[in-house]
Symmetry: C3
């Protein structure tokens, strides 16, 4: 149950049923991804239990969702069939639990949650240490034994061709892919299963995911993102997460927090290319950094604005 | 009044009269800059009021100065005549208000002010997302619709030719330009008007601005900065701000804090090329990062040194 | 005495005798390094005293170890015989004291020590501002007067040739060099003298240094680091520091903290190439950043895991 809730907590939902649906979605994208996801969540939860972490957090699945993302991320970026990928995924899932403890303690000073910050830190360290497939590798040695030159999928950030026209197909693909990309999955039908899982746990969360996805598409279009990337969902997954976090999950859902969430979703989308450019010279990726940074900032600012009320827990 | 105080707060001065003089200086540099500045401050202040921010902060102009800099920065770096620049400036001025709330809350833990940190964050995100005019753009799509390939002024950091001799003209130009560059303005007479505005509000602040400017020139010269950049004031504006912040504004003005401010001004100048090099691969700019980082560090350290006393109230 | 304790505090040991041995090790590597080390520690301690810092911290040597590293780092990276190196080392040793005050205050919020964070910040700013010997310098002017084109030793991060076989000689050289590299020294016999100094102050600390060194070699080998770099100790010095910090110095030494320290030492080693890649585009170095970041995170997380107990007092 904790493991399934851990899957669902990627989208802030402490629901084991949603965790089942999310796992189905991962298996639909590829049995390896489903397996990596479940194993990662299990390893993270087990590590937290071994170290004696808070039982409430473990039961709610809060010690598993970062591990889940690290494991699935390893599978996607390094290729799931290499034995070294499995070793890295297991190690990363365990270490991210310690980072979760650190982030939770430090952010608690301002009553802030960790979001997926521990995952972002771990995944960024791993991909920056990995040699770029292009060649001009800067690192000292960069995990030469681990990364494989044929690791094709390690590129989310391919050169952009500039703004192109969005077709209707692009639009509805993007709408669902934005939700699937939270778990790195570009297929629209995988995103659809994820969305069903969200609606199963909480209708409001599902609506907000849709709002976030729409805001993400709109912002990406307004700023001139290439159609292909919009359709694949790489422009909008941060908007989905930011919208859910800022309206309903951490701030009481009302008209004010809805407006705040829309601004946050747009800001997270606009921040994506900035972070991509910042990470590019060293070979890193954006992951969910835009969502994490925007949500932390917007949530930290919330007490200064009395119209916004925090959800009390 | 709040808007004018917002202009003046860029230099720590809650004086509407100084705000008028600062606006005159901006209009002297170009009517567009004056307009962007006033509009930015107004939008930021209005956003803060809409969200119900603390009235005292709004009245003192503390919710406007970051917005002012974001708006003027957009005009300078993107060209003031594009409609998209106006849209970005308005959006940025509003979003920076939320970042101000976040920064104020987090830094309050150590009794630290935000300085221009919210502006630096916003402006860095915007310029890193903007495609470099050189060509080798790393970002995914980088706001393709917004930035214009003919946006020539987007380069503060041009290749340096190495140390050259400073003429007397360079020196006195630099002395005033250092003060004008706080608002991105390289003209010495614009800097002179700003300096008059500072003296109008507070003679001690004016003297400190002069001290900071002199320390900035001296440090830049000692480290071998090219004469052209010294003369344009890009080497010294951080020193001016750091000197004012550390002696009189946040630390009680006495011999100890004066020495501390001189060290801080020199450190901010020396940090500038380091941050320029750090941002260069991703196309960012230094903005007032050196001032912000040095002043935060020096002010955070102050309680450890009993000879330095914080200004209370 | 304070100065000698400052030397020893680089390895967490408040022992003047160890400080003597460490100075002997530095002089064995070159009389300049010994001189820079002692002078740097003295300048840092004097600055702290002048500013009225806490006497207990000064007496324990906690105000000197960052200055020591800054001064020795300047000598190693800029060449000890240039007058400008001496000026920079003196200035850096003084400024790092202020950064120590800032870092100590901010990290005290979570009951965390500064480790060598002030040194890392200062040294990173200095090396990033220094023009890369390769040529493509990005900074505005980058301290042109200070850095010399013949500054050969400014390269720790040379291009890696990929994994090669480790000989037995490589292994035992690496074992001691890992300890010497804490002070930037690649000679195995210098590392051996440092290790003797550690054992003199505390046998447990010496054992942990050996454990950390072994874990560092093992992790570097597992990830495929080039033999030459392993033998020079550049892969393992962070592991040595992390192991000492996490078992015995800040966490009560027992089986749990030993396991935690081993994981931390491995994580610090794995993080090294990631940080090297992150700094490479702007010409920075890793210094002890991996140790600092891993130890801060692991120590911040410790209260979440009741099996780990902090050293009180």
């Amino acid at each position: 149950m904790e493991v399934l809730r851990g899957q669902a907590q990627v989208d802030f939902l402490p629901s084991a049923l949603t965790g089942v649906v999310f796992s189905v979605a991962l298996f639909a994208a590829g049995w390896e991804f489903g397996l990596y996801g479940l194993t990662g969540t299990a390893v993270g939860t087990a590590t937290a239990r071994l170290l004696g972490a808070d039982r409430d957090r473990i039961t709610a699945g809060l010690e598993g969702f970062n591990s889940c993302l690290v494991a699935v991320g390893c599978a996607v970026f390094l290729g799931p069939h290499h034995p070294s990928t499995a070793v890295l995924a297991l190690t990363g899932s365990a270490v991210v639990t310690i980072l979760t403890g650190a982030a939770a303690r430090i952010l608690a000073t301002w009553d802030l949650p960790t979001f997926t910050l521990p995952f972002c830190l771990t995944a960024s360290a791993m991909t920056i240490a990995a040699p770029a497939e292009g060649g001009t590798s800067h690192a000292l040695w960069q995990w030469g034994r681990v990364w494989h030159q044929d690791a094709g999928p390690a590129t989310l950030s391919r050169p952009a061709a500039g703004p192109t026209a969005l077709t209707v197909t692009d639009l509805w693909h993007a709408f669902f892919a934005n939700i699937g990309q939270i778990f790195f999955m570009p297929q629209w039908y995988v995103g659809l299963i994820f969305l069903l899982g969200i609606f199963l746990a909480c209708r409001r969360a599902g609506v907000l995911a849709c709002v976030g996805s729409a805001v993400g598409i709109l912002t990406a279009w307004a700023l001139g993102a290439p159609a292909e990337q919009v359709a694949e969902g790489t422009m909008g997954y941060n908007a989905v997460l930011a919208a859910m976090a800022l309206c309903g999950v951490f701030l009481v859902a009302d008209a004010w927090s809805l407006a705040y969430a829309v601004i946050g979703a747009a800001a997270a989308t606009a921040l994506s290319p900035a972070l991509a450019a910042l990470f590019a010279p060293s070979g890193g990726h954006t992951f969910t950094w835009p969502f994490v940074l925007v949500s932390l900032a917007f949530l930290a600012a919330a007490p200064a604005f009395p119209r916004l009320r925090r959800v009390t827990g």
